[in-house]
């Protein structure tokens, strides 16, 4: 029996890994391309900023509108490279990015990467725990209630729509007011402790749980009717067993695809929720930077979070392949 070269490689002891490596490399290159496009896009947008930037920086440092001399303006221009032609600015920008230099904040006068690095962890923790919580809620609701005729099931569907529509800052506000003001259970300020994580996580998780729930419930109900489920019942599997062991795996697939996009949505929501609970994280920094028109800081945060999004998507795709082995790694 003759084998192709690829088959021979795969037959080697670690040859199987070559497929995984190749897939990863392909995705890494794709991700890098997206990131490059993201940085370019960001550069284009911020170069459209109206008004004189040197003037803006000087005014920001002084705290009010001033009338600087030409020499002062030239000095600022030279320092930030505003006088260079746009192509040169772009290349400098890319070059610095590759070295991890996101520039210096106009407002805080510290390297952007330093500011972001210090604050991004709480946000990631919040987003991640919200993702897990949302999935947990969605799966429990679906496995227990989907496809059933009882009124609880109908209520659950309606509830999921309501959950998906409510913005996280609204839920956060309600939770804050209820628990911290009326019931005085949780601390009002979201400290960096486990307790202070609960309310923000719930606020962020609920809308996502609604979304994921709607999507996987629809798929769940569809898959319940499939012949292979009947086959399993005909072998003696009970209803709950069928739901858990057979249908669930099929039903979560569209939700997994959704999770890639969800990371972006969670970041957006995290900004709002951090604001509601006065919690540490990127959100507060970002909002302050935006209102101060602090371009490097904002673009830095945006590019870094885009990077996290791309990475998250690669991981989500890999997870999808594990759950659904039908698709080859090719």
């Amino acid at each position: 029996m003759s084998m192709t070269l690829a088959a021979r490689i795969r037959a080697l002891p670690f040859g199987g890994a070559s497929r995984h490596v190749a897939w990863f490399l392909r995705r890494a290159i794709g991700g890098a391309a997206v990131l490059w496009a993201v940085t370019t896009f960001t550069f284009v947008v911020q170069s459209l900023m109206p008004g004189d930037r040197a003037l803006l920086i000087i005014n920001m440092a002084a705290g009010n509108i001033t009338n600087p001399s030409q020499a002062e303006i030239d000095a600022v221009n030279a320092k930030y490279g505003f006088a260079d032609p746009i192509a040169v600015q772009y290349l400098n920008y890319l070059w610095r990015l590759l070295h991890g230099d996101f520039g210096v904040s106009y407002q805080l006068h510290r390297p952007v990467i330093e500011i972001v690095g210090a604050q991004i962890l709480p946000t990631i923790v919040l987003a991640f725990s919200a993702l897990l919580t949302a999935w947990f809620i969605a799966i429990v609701m679906t496995v227990v209630l989907a496809g059933r005729a009882n009124p609880w099931a109908r209520f659950a569907s309606g509830l999921q729509i309501v959950m998906a529509t409510m913005p996280p800052y609204w839920i956060g506000t309600i939770l804050l007011v209820t628990f911290a003001v009326f019931l005085r259970i949780f601390p009002v300020e979201g400290k960096n402790s486990l307790i202070g994580l609960v309310l923000p996580t719930v606020a962020l998780a609920i809308p996502l749980a609604g979304f994921i729930g709607l999507v996987i419930q629809q798929e769940f109900v569809r898959v319940l009717e499939q012949p292979f489920v009947t086959s399993s019942r005909a072998r003696g599997m009970g209803d709950f067993g069928v739901r858990l062991r057979h249908v669930l795996r099929h039903a979560v697939l569209p939700g997994v695809t959704l999770s890639g996009w969800a990371v972006g949505s969670l970041f957006s929501g995290a900004v709002l929720v951090e604001s509601v609970f006065a919690r540490q994280g990127i959100g507060g920094i970002l909002v302050g930077a935006t209102s101060a028109r602090d371009v490097p800081l904002v673009t830095g945060i945006v590019v870094i979070s885009a990077g996290i999004y791309v990475l998250a998507n690669v991981l989500v795709d890999r997870a999808y392949l594990i759950i659904d082995p039908r698709i080859k790694l090719a």
């Binding site: 005729a149 086959s231 072998r235 003696g236 599997m237 039908r326 090719a330």
Partner: protein, 574 residues
């Protein structure tokens, strides 16, 4: 719930006894009886077949026997006994002990009847695990491999780790049967077990089921395919609209059917014997045809061509496709044929033979990689789409699934009107023509405002036919036009196509996997396998005296109606 099972003589006691089985859905005023008054008894080593068309209730009956009629079903019976044990009073928990262990169930199309995300071995071993007979991991794996060997799957150790889509259709179905036989149940119920399979594979699966019966199991076979039933069954139940219209020994039913419905069903099966006759009782649209040919100058006959040669000539057609894995497959590997005026050319082959792609090449919906097609003597596939557009009206197509070829937002009259000649300007005249076409395909003109989704399968196919002839084509390409229809509807549609052939002088390229249909309908036939024409010629010659090995295998594998009944009074076309 165990009564002593060995009371009385076990040999005479039936394995399964059903008396007045009744299944309905909904409650009170909206109660809808799907199965009524089904009675039979089944002994070990015997095969009972339940035959019927869609809506007959046969599948619901089968499922009710294992308590899987559905949560909303009300199942009542005078008696429903397995080995003397009353099944009507079983709790869900008790049912779970019966299913898989006493009664096994096999569904059709293993690709969707097996969990596609789980390896075959897991599915086959599931019953063992559920009923607590799995033992250790190694023991379970070994039993699974034994089961796969039992059903004739090669390399069982390797296959048990693979996913369903990695196996061939036949192997999948065998695995599904293995899963049902895992605990050696006394009764095996098979619901259309061979429907999704090619003829050659179908024969093997039926053989496997037969072996199971010979080992002492009882078999309940649900099928719409009368030929399959005639080969397998000892006893037959014929169902229609939820009721049993006839019941008896197989030989008796096929040789001398008592009920009118059974007779009609048997008459409707197309084969060599039915050639030249009508398959369905006459609601003949032929009655209306003469009215059309009152002195209108723009009637529905195709415009005659001046060319003398064949209507369509295909020369050396080759088409390759690149699959999702990057491998290039040759789907059509060099096909040539001629189509003459007034003849029907059948194209028969199993799945993957390239017949559908050939149809698309002939219709110029795909460009051939090599070779060409000449339509009415003029180049067809080698010219630009713009040049082809005005000529496209001369060749029409009918699909297996007409629904997807209709714009879901359009009504029937718009669908047909769309194909009428642009020269017909007056909207009144166009409306009349649409009515004429609906008459010709025996659809009431009140259906014009309906949408395709509101029609039945047979009605949709009629609309598709009306649309196909609206442009006055000289050739109609039919790609499995009756494969998705019930036998009786299939008969009507075949009769209709035959009538149109006679009245309008249309030539057909008729593609099907069903040899009986081809034999009934075609004049000449092309036998295709793996992209090549293996054999061609007059349909009688090819099917009665096949020369090539493949054709011989194909013809031998197709189950034919045993005990064919003598029918001196076959209705003839007018």
């Amino acid at each position: 719930m165990s009564r002593a099972d060995d009371v009385g003589d076990p040999a005479s006691r039936p394995l399964l006894r059903v008396d007045s089985l009744h299944v309905s859905f909904g409650r009170d005023a909206r109660e809808n009886a799907v199965v009524q008054g089904v009675s039979f008894s089944l002994a070990a080593g015997r095969c009972l077949a339940i035959v019927g068309e869609s809506g007959s209730g046969k599948s619901v009956t089968a499922r009710a026997l294992v308590g899987l009629a559905g949560a909303r079903a009300h199942v009542r019976a005078g008696a429903l006994e397995y080995r003397g044990r009353d099944l009507t009073k079983l709790s869900e928990r008790d049912w779970r002990r019966v299913r898989g262990k006493e009664i096994g169930f096999v569904l059709q199309d293993a690709l969707v009847s097996l969990d596609q995300l789980r390896p075959i071995g897991k599915e086959v071993g599931e019953a063992l695990v559920l009923h607590g007979e799995a033992g250790t991991r190694a023991e379970l794996a070994e039993r699974v491999i034994d089961l796969l060997k039992l059903v004739g799957i090669p390399e069982p150790a390797l296959k048990s780790r693979q996913l369903p889509h990695e196996l061939s259709g036949g192997q999948r179905q065998r695995a599904l049967i293995a899963a049902a036989l895992a605990l050696d149940p006394q009764i095996l119920i098979a619901d259309e077990p061979t429907t999704a399979l090619d003829a050659t594979v179908q024969a093997q699966i039926l053989e496997l089921l037969n072996e199971t019966r010979q080992r002492g199991k009882a078999l309940i076979l649900i099928s719409h395919d009368l030929a399959v039933v005639s080969r397998m069954a000892d006893e037959v139940l014929v169902m229609r609209h939820g009721e049993v219209v006839e019941r008896g020994q197989a030989e008796q039913i096929f040789r001398d059917p008592q009920h009118e419905y059974t007779r009609r069903l048997l008459d409707a099966v197309p084969s060599a014997l039915s050639r030249g006759t009508r398959l369905a009782p006459a609601s003949a649209p032929a009655l209306y045809a003469p009215l059309l040919y009152s002195s209108r100058d723009d009637d529905l006959r195709p415009t005659p061509t001046t060319a003398n040669g064949p209507l369509l000539r295909a020369e050396g057609l080759v088409k390759r496709f690149r699959g999702p894995d990057g491998v290039v497959r040759t789907v059509v590997g060099g096909v040539s044929f001629d189509l003459h005026g007034g003849e029907t050319l059948g194209v028969v082959g199993e799945s993957g033979s390239g017949k559908s792609t050939l149809a698309r090449l002939v219709l110029a919906l795909e460009r051939p990689d090599h070779g060409s097609v000449l339509l009415h003597g003029l180049p067809w596939t080698t010219v630009s789409e713009r040049e082809r557009q005005p000529r496209r009206r001369r060749i029409s197509v009918i699909y297996q699934d007409p629904l997807s070829s209709f714009d879901p937002r359009w009504t029937v009259d718009r669908i047909i009107d769309d194909c009428l000649d642009g020269a017909l300007q007056s909207s009144a005249r166009r409306a009349e023509r649409v009515d004429e076409l609906l008459d010709l395909v025996a659809l009431p003109t009140t259906y014009r405002r309906r949408r395709p989704l509101e029609l039945s399968g047979g009605q949709r196919q009629r609309v598709a036919i009306a649309r196909a002839i609206a442009s006055k084509p000289s050739i109609i390409v039919c790609d499995e036009p009756v494969s998705a229809l019930d036998v009786s509807i299939q008969a009507q549609v075949l009769d209709l196509l035959g009538d149109l052939k006679e009245q309008l002088g249309i030539s057909y390229i008729f593609i099907s996997h069903d040899l009986g249909v081809i034999h009934h309908f075609s004049d000449r036939v092309l036998v295709m396998s793996e992209g090549l024409v293996v054999e061609s010629g007059d349909v009688h010659d090819v099917f009665r005296r096949p020369q090539e090995a493949y054709t011989q295998r194909l013809v031998a594998a197709v189950p034919r109606l045993r005990h064919a009944r003598s029918t001196p009074e076959r209705r003839l076309a007018e």
